[in-house]
């Protein structure tokens, strides 16, 4: 008995109809494609009316196969499958063909685009005839979650899930959680003390009975798929037994070896070889930096072990690999600061009193190298004027083209702090002043009232080459003031470079471990930039915070909470649907060569030694088809993508070339070859 195919060609408003003659495509399909019972065109197939059309037709006309020619399946395959299901038709008896992204949006020639759309519809119809009903599979979702990154986004996600009663494993690379926010002085626009609003969250996470924290740890390996991931975490050796350490700090106090702290203090202060990153560190357990420890490098000392009241120092400690099982993973790995040495004309690293934004945060911070006094590198001179240069390493074709989102506000914050703490004049050199969020514009107005000078122009150079006597001994900012229309040379004492935000150096590598990719700029790719910013193309892996793109603290917190909510939803539902588009091996014909075992990128094929055959683990299979192609005996088939279906699709696309197959009427004159 032949099938009854229903064809629905969507206008998508003018998105498709503007280039493709959709009425013609529907008319043509109805007349020329085999087994077509109904062929319609409609303005918006994805609307509830559009879906009802399909549902009614299935019920009334007894349709057995559906073809929807519209936008990308990524957007609405689910919608139309649901419509089929509502009408009692198996959802895998639908084929969606993309005549928008693949046709109307990439062509200008209307005739050619219409002919192409016809070919695509014929292909889909050819294929759908060979499709078979498939049943969905469900796997349980492990209620535990892995959060990678203990900055503000990761902390927020952790707390939301833990407070909801679900276990969370939090992995943080640094010895303490807190991220970059722990380094800041004040936060804009409220001028809250950063540590004061951060540390309560850090404490909560540290003490939460649902949270297992692995600090000074790295993500080693991830396997499995949504609902069931197996994760290996490398907990690096602190040389301190956590269970015995009380965090008293005597070891740090007595350690004789000082080292420049180029992580937390950005090179502006020293720490000891055994150290805690900052006073409010969580966990309050020190780390021994073996590369700089006198005992480890020269075999002498051991003072820390001698003074520790609980004998918690353990020089023999080794890295440990810990395995956990989780249902979902939230990546909140954050960012690293732009290296201002890459823009040498601004003098960072060469001219003493040129600071980066991170250095200045530490300078202002009451627990920083100068106890919060704003002074020059000599440690005592207060600047009489300060220049703040925006967009260093951002909005720049030679370094990073994107805008780093937070620097304009941070620059204003710095301006305010300088004006508050010193008598200095403050000059800000900007391309645009970006203050879009709540209360940000008001903050800008406040700075204007406080007397901060805003000069619109990209600074050409910061130099100490004086041209006039009054420039001698100072740093000169050379800039074109575009509002005045003049070149200006402004002598200052201190320059602050607003360095941009960059992805972590190993973001791509870590992303690959979880199976997610990065954009060209290196930020993790979200599922949809507007409508799905925290999910990724890999089910079960979510992103939150700056690792997805530069953003401020409120936005990072919001994304952390959003990712947690998504995960909580999956945990509540308890199970997740696995698409039945998987491979299956014909065990009777399999010779046990195991070529497919090694080729599978998801480790979804195992081998039965007794029967000497390979076997697909359906829960892990992603239906990529690699094994189907690799099998030398051709005994593996991919559901929903078998040879019959693929060949039928090819014949459909070439309907006009051979005159038979899916269509019967030749209305197109093929271009002569050669």
């Amino acid at each position: 008995m032949s099938e009854k195919i229903g064809i629905y060609v969507c206008h998508c408003g003018s998105n498709i109809a503007g280039t493709v003659d959709v009425e013609e495509v529907a008319r043509w399909a109805g007349k020329n494609v085999e087994d077509v019972a109904i062929s319609r065109d409609y303005k918006f197939m994805c609307s509830s009316l559009g879906q009802s059309l399909i549902e009614e037709d299935i019920k009334k006309e007894g349709l057995t196969r559906i073809v929807v020619a519209a936008c990308s399946p990524h957007l609405h395959e689910k919608t139309f499958r649901q419509a089929c299901e509502n009408a009692g038709l198996n959802p895998y008896l639908l084929q969606m063909t993309n005549i928008r992204e693949h046709c109307s949006w990439v062509h200008i020639d209307k005739n050619a685009a219409t002919e192409k759309a016809k070919a695509l519809v014929a292909a889909a119809a050819g294929r759908v005839r060979h499709q078979r009903p498939l049943e969905r599979m469900y796997v349980k979702v492990n209620p535990a979650t892995l959060v990678i990154g203990g900055g503000i986004a990761g902390l927020q996600a952790t707390l939301e899930l833990a407070d909801a009663g679900y276990p969370v494993y939090l992995v943080e690379r640094e010895p303490s959680i807190g991220g970059h926010m722990a380094q800041f002085d004040k936060t804009f626009p409220t001028l809250d003390c950063s540590a004061c609003i951060l540390t309560p969250k850090m404490s909560e996470v540290g003490q939460h009975d649902k949270v297992t924290m692995y600090t000074y740890s790295e993500l080693e390996e991830v396997s499995g798929s949504v609902g069931n991931f197996k994760v290996k975490i490398r907990q690096k050796a602190r040389m301190v037994t956590a269970a015995d350490c009380t965090g008293c700090g005597v070891c740090v106090e007595k350690c004789p070896r000082k080292v420049v702290d180029d992580v937390f203090e950005v090179g502006m202060a020293t720490r000891k070889a055994i150290y805690m990153q900052f006073p409010q560190a969580v966990p309050r357990i020190p780390v021994l930096d073996t590369a700089n420890c006198t005992y480890f490098t020269r075999g002498k000392c051991q003072v820390c072990a001698k003074v520790c009241p609980t004998n918690a120092i353990d020089y023999t400690q080794k890295d440990e690999i810990i395995e956990v099982e989780v249902g979902n993973i939230i990546m909140a790995t954050g960012w690293k600061p732009f290296d201002c040495k890459r823009i040498p004309q601004y003098g960072f690293g060469r001219l003493a009193n040129v600071y980066t934004n991170m250095e200045f945060e530490r300078l202002c911070n009451a627990s920083g190298p100068t106890n919060g006094k704003i002074v020059l590198r000599d440690g005592k001179t207060e600047p009489k004027s300060v220049a703040i240069i925006h967009c260093v390493g951002s909005r720049d074709t030679t370094t990073n083209t994107y805008c780093s989102n937070v620097c304009c506000m941070a620059a204003m914050k710095f301006g305010h702090l300088v004006l508050e703490k010193t008598q200095a004049e403050v000059y800000s050199f900007y391309i645009d002043v970006r203050a879009p969020q709540k209360d940000y514009e008001e903050f800008y107005q406040r700075l204007l009232e406080e007397g901060m000078h805003f000069v619109r122009g990209k600074v050409a150079e910061v130099t100490d080459a004086a041209r006039q006597p009054d420039e001698a001994g100072r740093l000169i900012v050379q800039v074109e003031d575009t509002l005045m229309g003049r070149q200006r040379r402004i002598p200052v004492d201190m320059v602050i470079l607003m360095g941009g935000l960059e992805p972590q150096a190993d973001a791509k590598e870590i992303g690959l471990k979880c199976g997610i990719s990065c954009s060209m700029a290196g930020w993790y790719t979200e599922r949809h930039p507007k409508l799905d910013p925290v999910a990724t193309m890999t089910d079960g892996i979510f992103v939150a915070g700056v690792c997805q793109g530069p953003k401020d603290i409120p936005a990072s917190v919001a994304q952390g909470a959003a990712a947690a909510a998504r995960v909580a939803g999956m945990i509540t539902k308890g199970q997740v649907m696995i698409e039945p588009i998987v491979a299956s091996i014909n065990e009777v014909e399999c010779s046990g060569c195991r070529i497919c075992n090694t080729m599978c990128p998801y480790n979804a094929i195992d081998y039965d030694g007794e029967k000497n055959v390979s076997h697909v683990i359906t829960a892990l299979c992603k239906g990529c088809g690699t094994c189907v192609a690799a099998c030398p005996a051709g005994v593996i088939s991919g559901a929903h993508y078998n040879n019959e279906q693929i060949f039928a699709e090819i014949e459909g696309v070439l309907w006009d070339a051979h005159g038979n197959g899916a269509a019967t009427e030749k209305e197109f004159v093929p271009v002569a070859a050669g």
């Binding site: 040498p344 150079e461 130099t463 080459a465």
Partner: protein
């Protein structure tokens, strides 16, 4: 490796020291320079300010004359370098213009396919093609104690990108380090020397030159090294005029980087063109290098 050699007009007379030192150094480093037969003037800035098509055609003639077996062309003069590179670039970015230029060349029985010849500057040939190891190996007289200020000028680092950083180039700094010299990191190494402003408006030009000399002096450089005949002429030839104009006492030798390269390689200063400069270099060199130089007096 073989390169076509385009000396340009300045290197014939004014900047003969540059030409001599280039040839001497190339010989030692086994850089085979084959001078283009019957080359013509590149037009410097003058032609291009008059008529772009004519100017390009005039430059393209040189490119067309390059031996078909040779793929790279070396021009020690910055202006020649820029004009040659610019013309090649214009011809490939704008095929219509390229076609017109080839029409002009056809009148002389010549033709040039843009991109066939890669235009290089002597500095980047030594820095990139010869490289650190080979240069260090040839140093017989390390320039220890000599404080040198590398001066890049404009035209090699801008506007065409690719040869070194546009804002803070380092090739000459690196090269001088390989010779054992103390490289002065002063802030104006890629600031304009004024170029032809000396012909048009002396006060403006003198100010630009003064800034360079002042900065090098502030940073206690013994000498400034150039990679362009115009820059060398401006800072050396006009140094006395600048002194007169501003009442300064600059006495900085201005040399070509290949001359200093030659000294480090133990070559004869006479053959390297020493003595042609107006602000005498030998006294400074002999003092700084403790008299250990080739005996030939200048």
């Amino acid at each position: 490796m073989r390169y076509a050699y385009y000396p340009g007009c300045s290197l014939e007379i004014n900047a003969a020291a540059y030409d001599h030192s280039v040839r001497e150094v190339a010989d030692l480093l086994d850089i085979k320079l084959q001078e283009i037969d019957d080359w013509n003037c590149c037009g410097a800035t003058e032609y291009f300010s008059q008529d772009e098509l004519t100017a390009c055609a005039v430059v393209a003639r040189n490119l067309a004359l390059v031996d078909p077996q040779i793929k790279q062309l070396v021009a020690p003069c910055a202006a020649c370098y820029l004009n040659l590179k610019k013309t090649d670039r214009l011809m490939s970015d704008f095929p219509e213009m390229g076609a017109k230029i080839n029409q002009c060349l056809a009148a002389g029985g010549l033709h040039y396919d843009p991109g066939r010849v890669v235009v290089r500057h002597m500095l980047d040939v030594i820095h990139d093609d010869i490289g650190e190891r080979a240069v260090r190996d040839k140093v017989v007289r390390p320039l220890t104690g000599l404080r040198v200020a590398p001066y890049y000028g404009c035209q090699v680092v801008r506007p065409i990108k690719g040869c070194d950083s546009t804002e803070y180039p380092m090739m000459m700094d690196n090269l001088l380090k390989w010779l054992g010299a103390e490289v002065v990191d002063y802030p104006v190494k890629a600031h304009c020397c004024g170029g032809h402003m000396t012909q048009i408006s002396e006060p403006q030009a003198f100010e630009l030159i003064r800034r360079l000399l002042q900065s090098a002096q502030d940073y206690h450089a013994d000498m400034i090294l150039c990679m362009c005949p115009m820059c060398q002429l401006n800072m050396d030839g006009y140094q006395a005029r600048v002194n007169g104009h501003f009442n300064t006492q600059f006495n900085l030798p201005i040399l070509y980087f290949t001359q200093i390269l030659g000294i480090a390689f133990g070559l004869d200063p006479k053959k390297l063109g020493f003595g042609k400069e107006l602000v005498a270099a030998m006294p400074v060199l002999t003092a700084k290098l403790n008299g250990k130089l080739a005996a030939a007096a200048v």
